[in-house]
């Protein structure tokens, strides 16, 4: 018997590869392609607003930002004369947003503190739902409410402020007309942005490290002492970030502001007087009757607004993601 050993066959080593299957390649390709839609959309917005607004920007130059005249007419020789300046509108937007923040930030922070540290559980749940719901109200509802319900009250408040603090320039008025003022627009906006600031602040406050809270109590702090020593320093960045997110929203708000603001092409710092400006509302107001030249200027105004909100949002998101995720 011969002992012919069967010839050894060493199996070919299986080829190990990390190359995905075809189906996975397609899947990854499609998902990756779609994920760039945000980039494409933002780029297209900037591109088309720039292309269509370019002629106005070129014709007006720096006057587009610095002048406050906004008119277009045909002079005696039949030549079209156009002055487009956004200064009054930009200043108005900032003034209204600042008023809104001055009202909204204290209220929102107090509400967030109440929700996190004082409210009983059941009330807390209801309040959080209501505030979330408030963020989902259509902006035109705020506009209608602001015009028909708030304005009569706010005019009375404005008269009071003017009576007692009228010696300060910003609370003075050239003539006693208090309706449709930046002050009222600011109040309406403040109600709109309160939910944003409240929810961000609440999230940051609730992330306060428990050991620090308990350390403060162990040292004999009262609840308010604990909040002042631990929670507020910890949450300050989050409040700032939330307020900036709200500022971005306030800059871009259109319909609600338009309903309660008298848009006048004059830079005005007297906030109680019926004269204000707002870039977004201005676009809506002029859009209907704009000719080709003015349309280009309105699109350029949209570009300015887009850049402004993008910038504010960039800083806001930077601060919020940094604070909310990692604490401090």
């Amino acid at each position: 018997m011969s002992l012919d050993a069967p010839e050894k066959t060493t199996p070919q080593a299986r080829k190990i590869t990390t190359k995905p299957r075809v189906s996975d390649q397609i899947f990854r390709g499609v998902v990756t392609a779609f994920s760039f839609s945000a980039l494409v959309i933002l780029a297209l917005i900037a591109l088309f607003l720039f292309l269509k607004g370019f002629s106005a920007l070129k014709a007006q130059g720096f006057n587009f930002i610095t002048s406050f005249e906004w008119n277009v007419f045909v002079d005696d020789t039949g030549k079209e004369v156009a002055h487009f300046g956004l200064q009054a509108m930009l200043v108005g937007t900032v003034v209204i947003s600042i008023i809104a923040l001055l009202i909204a930030v204290p209220l929102a922070v107090l509400t967030a503190l109440f929700l996190t540290f004082y409210a009983p559980d059941r009330i807390k749940k209801i309040l959080i739902t209501v505030i979330d719901l408030m963020a989902a109200f259509p902006s035109i509802l705020y506009g209608l409410w602001g015009y028909f319900v708030l304005m009569p009250m706010a005019i009375y408040w404005a008269q009071l402020i003017n009576k007692w603090l009228g010696w300060i320039y910003i609370f003075d008025v050239p003539e006693p007309i208090f309706s449709r003022s930046p002050f009222i627009a600011g109040i309406v906006l403040s109600v709109m942005i309160i939910p944003i600031i409240t929810s961000v602040s609440r999230e940051v406050f609730s992330q306060t490290p428990l050991d620090r809270v308990q350390a403060a109590y162990a040292l004999g702090a009262t609840k308010w002492g604990m909040i002042r020593a631990v929670v507020l320093p910890f949450g300050a960045n989050g409040v700032v970030g939330g307020s900036m997110l709200a500022l971005g929203r306030a800059f871009g708000e259109t319909v609600a502001v338009f309903s309660v603001l008298n848009i006048v092409y004059r830079t005005n710092f007297q906030v109680l007087y019926t004269q204000g400006g707002n870039v977004a509302s201005h676009i809506i107001q002029r859009f209907g009757e704009a000719g080709a030249t003015e349309m280009s200027a309105l699109i350029a105004a949209g570009l300015v607004l887009f850049m402004l909100t993008l910038l504010v949002n960039f800083f806001a998101n930077y601060i919020v993601t940094k604070t909310v995720k990692s604490g401090r």
């Binding site: 189906s23 839609s37 945000a38 917005i45 088309f48 292309l51 929700l115 035109i140 699109i299 993008l310």
Partner: protein, 348 residues
């Protein structure tokens, strides 16, 4: 041997004396409020409210001072102040809700839901003409926006959670930036890019495109949160069974997150349902039904409200309030259903 059970003590609980003092301070504050408002030229509900609050603050602080000292006064002060802040916010919300309900309800009737404005002018009395065409228009707009933005949003979220490619950080940042695009700019963009460049004229389709820009970030961010909640084990189990990544995502991850993804879509709809500004550029207005999404102007509830407000006649403003009530109810229903689906996905 007898054991004595120690009765649990609650030294922090309010004693009958504390409760009596609290009641007393409220009563005293109320009395002094009437006295002060009567004696000074102040008037109105708001004056009563603030005077009462200040009086209560002072009187209660005196009681606290006597019991807990100066530190206690600061503590009580802060507690009442936060309560006041929350109360003012709630007053604003209830004022908004109440005005919509009380003023809107007057204009509701059958005709309002079944007729359109083709044969009715803005001056016609309530009972003639309705917003059925606008309800249809809004539903059409929402359907178009969903059809475009849901694939976009969910696929972007899948890129951020499943593939986690090199660009994930950038995409995340851009999605956040996109959520800050003002609604008026979205409308202006569609106007500048499409209407000024192509033969397409304002239509429901273009309105849907403008709304998509506003809806995509909401859908993306919510889906991303939900997909992140799906346990890692599930994905690893899928891959370990030999499934490809595509199969794992399609058969394991997405079904696990299903109700959460529905919530994402619902929240996206809530974001756009009440948008007015972009529609003014891209949809226009129409008095009757327009079933063609690509040709011809259409109508939507927010635009109806807008034009009703600007028309200025008593009847048109009444119609605007009724329309806002309907829009509010729609948003409420959307909101509640999002809550229900959200709770479901949390349980899983």
């Amino acid at each position: 041997m007898s054991t004595t059970t120690v009765k649990p003590m609650k030294p922090w609980a309010a004693t009958p004396r504390d409760r009596a003092l609290t009641t007393l301070s409220v009563v005293l504050a109320a009395l002094s409020t009437f006295a002060i408002v009567a004696a000074t030229p102040m008037k109105g509900k708001i004056a009563y409210f603030f005077v009462f609050f200040i009086a209560w603050l002072v009187i209660d602080s005196l009681f606290v001072l006597q019991k807990n000292g100066v530190k206690g006064v600061g503590n009580g002060f802060a507690e009442k102040l936060t309560f006041l802040g929350a109360l003012i916010v709630m007053m604003a919300v209830s004022s908004i809700l109440w005005s919509a309900i009380s003023r809107g309800a007057a204009g509701l009737n059958i005709a309002y839901f079944t007729q359109n404005m083709r044969n009715a002018s803005i001056f016609d009395p309530i009972g003639m003409g309705g917003i059925a065409h606008a309800i249809f228009g809004t539903l059409l707009l929402i359907a178009i926006a969903i059809a475009i933005s849901v694939p976009m949003g969910i696929l972007t979220a899948l890129y951020l959670t499943e593939i986690k490619g090199k660009a994930a950080g950038l995409i995340q940042f851009l999605v956040q930036a996109m959520s800050g695009v003002p609604s008026v700019v979205a409308g202006l963009f569609i106007y500048a890019a499409v209407i000024l460049n192509t033969p397409l004229r304002p239509s429901a389709f273009l309105g849907g495109l403008a709304l998509t820009i506003l809806m995509v970030p909401t859908v993306t961010r919510t889906s991303q949160e939900v997909l992140n909640l799906v346990p890692r084990d599930l994905r690893e189990a899928g891959l370990a069974m030999g499934a490809t990544q595509w199969k794992t995502v399609a058969l394991v991850v997405v079904p696990a997150a299903r109700s959460g993804l529905i919530t994402a879509v619902i929240l996206g709809v809530a974001r756009i349902a009440g948008e007015t500004a972009p529609l003014l550029f891209t949809v226009g207005t129409f008095d009757s039904y327009n079933f063609n999404p690509f040709v011809g102007q259409n109508s939507a509830i927010p635009v109806i409200i807008w034009s009703g407000l600007n028309a200025g006649s008593a009847e048109s403003i009444q119609r605007a309030w009724s329309a806002i009530l309907i829009l509010l109810i729609v948003v409420l229903v959307i909101f509640v259903s999002a809550r229900i689906f959200g709770k479901k996905s949390m349980k899983k």
